[in-house]
Amino acid sequence: MTRFGTRLRVDFIACGGRGLCAEVLPELIELDDWGFPIVRADAVAPELLDQAAEAVRLCPLLALRLETLH
């Protein structure tokens, strides 16, 4: 697991399981058996950063964010 870079993080209190993120970014996000996102914990690869930003933008509940790891 990469310790540096940018990582996706779900605020599960805000998340309603709408599932758009998994549609936009299947490379990093799958849904559990109840429709809530399981996000890969490691850093987002540079070629997926635009897609990840799009997933963050599309979340209707603002539950997904990109955070920088130090």
Binding site: V10, D11, F12, I13, A14, C15, G16, G17, D32, D33, W34, G35, F36, I38
Partner: protein, 440 residues
Amino acid sequence: MTSGVCLALGDPAGPERKGASPGLPRLLPARSAGGPASLAEHLARHGPAARTDRSRPDLIGEVAAAGLTGRGGASFPTARKLAAVAAGRGEPLVIANGTEGEPASAKDKVLLAREPHLVLDGAALAAAIVGASDAVVVTHRAVSEIVAAAVEERRAARQDRVRLRVAIAAGTFVGGEASAVANWLQHGVAKPTATPPRLAERGVRGAPTLVQNVETLAHLALIGRHGASWFRAVGTPAEPGSMLVTVTGAVRRPGVHEIAIGTRGSEILDLAGGPAEPVRALLLGGYFGSWAPAEAAMAAPFSAAGLAHLAASPGAGLVVALPFGICGLAETARVARYLAAESAGQCGPCVFGLGSIAAELSALAAGRPADVRLLRRWLGQVDGRGGCGHPTGAVRLIRSALAVFSDEVVQHADGWCCGTAGQAVLPVPSAAAMLKAARS
């Protein structure tokens, strides 16, 4: 809401007592009188409260040198929390967490009922260290009057510079989680909040907030008086000090005891009079803890290092002896249903996942058709997700049950159970009590 809560005290300490460690007890000394220790009695025993005119880094350094860690279950280094809150912006707030929503655990209630001033000393010292002028003791309803009386006693004696206040805790399991305690104080909602922000940065009303378990603060009070090397004289070099344990289940005298960290499981059971009948397994740590086979758990030192090979840890100090004849799967299924019902209801993986897991485990425990592979899949999906550690803690307990009672899993799948229906060692509050707590 004290159903199932054991408030029995351990035997008065004596040097000849089986299982007792030298230098202990520190927090729960033997006393001739019943009831809580008065301020005068407390000060006569422990001496005046720690001086707080040392520099802040000096005080935090002493705590770091002592190696004190949180006794609420997570074992986080106390000095790091103190430093984070002290470095925060604005005037901090100190919260002494005596919620103890764990149904089988009594150690915080016993500590507050017997030695409230030790906890209050610790809260006052923590406030001085981080620069707070207010500290709130959030206490289980069962002991709130004792704590309130102790605070009143100190006020009359002008004991503290810090303002101490008492609040009654939410009577729920998840209500003891640090952010839920802060949320409860500020909004009356005992549910965890999202991170970030961390409480140390922005907690109650935006103030840097220190939430420490009451036992941790009692240790802090003694470190303030006697220093780091005194603290480290018991315990292990990596995990120094003593801790309170609640010992229950199939032991002769269930109760709360103080042990040196690293004390063997068998000696812990001896403190409670020894096994009342042959023991199949021990539940270690709490309802977020782990089952371990009795023989291995009794031989192991009760410390993070000593229990690591059993995938267990001391947690909040709960030790429950499960006798042969009571089904570990049925016990775990009942606790799983309780933990699922105690979900704060905020996060999908917890609400839906724990509910599904508890139902499948219950079917397995009852000998009804159950899909163990699906159960394991769900445990994998729920692990590590959610706004707080509730789902992850529940997963830990259930996984350990499937591992330790693996023979029973096979037997149950064939419709046969080793246990006797109707008996129980792990208490869970009744639905009525939970409803009452949720509404209070």
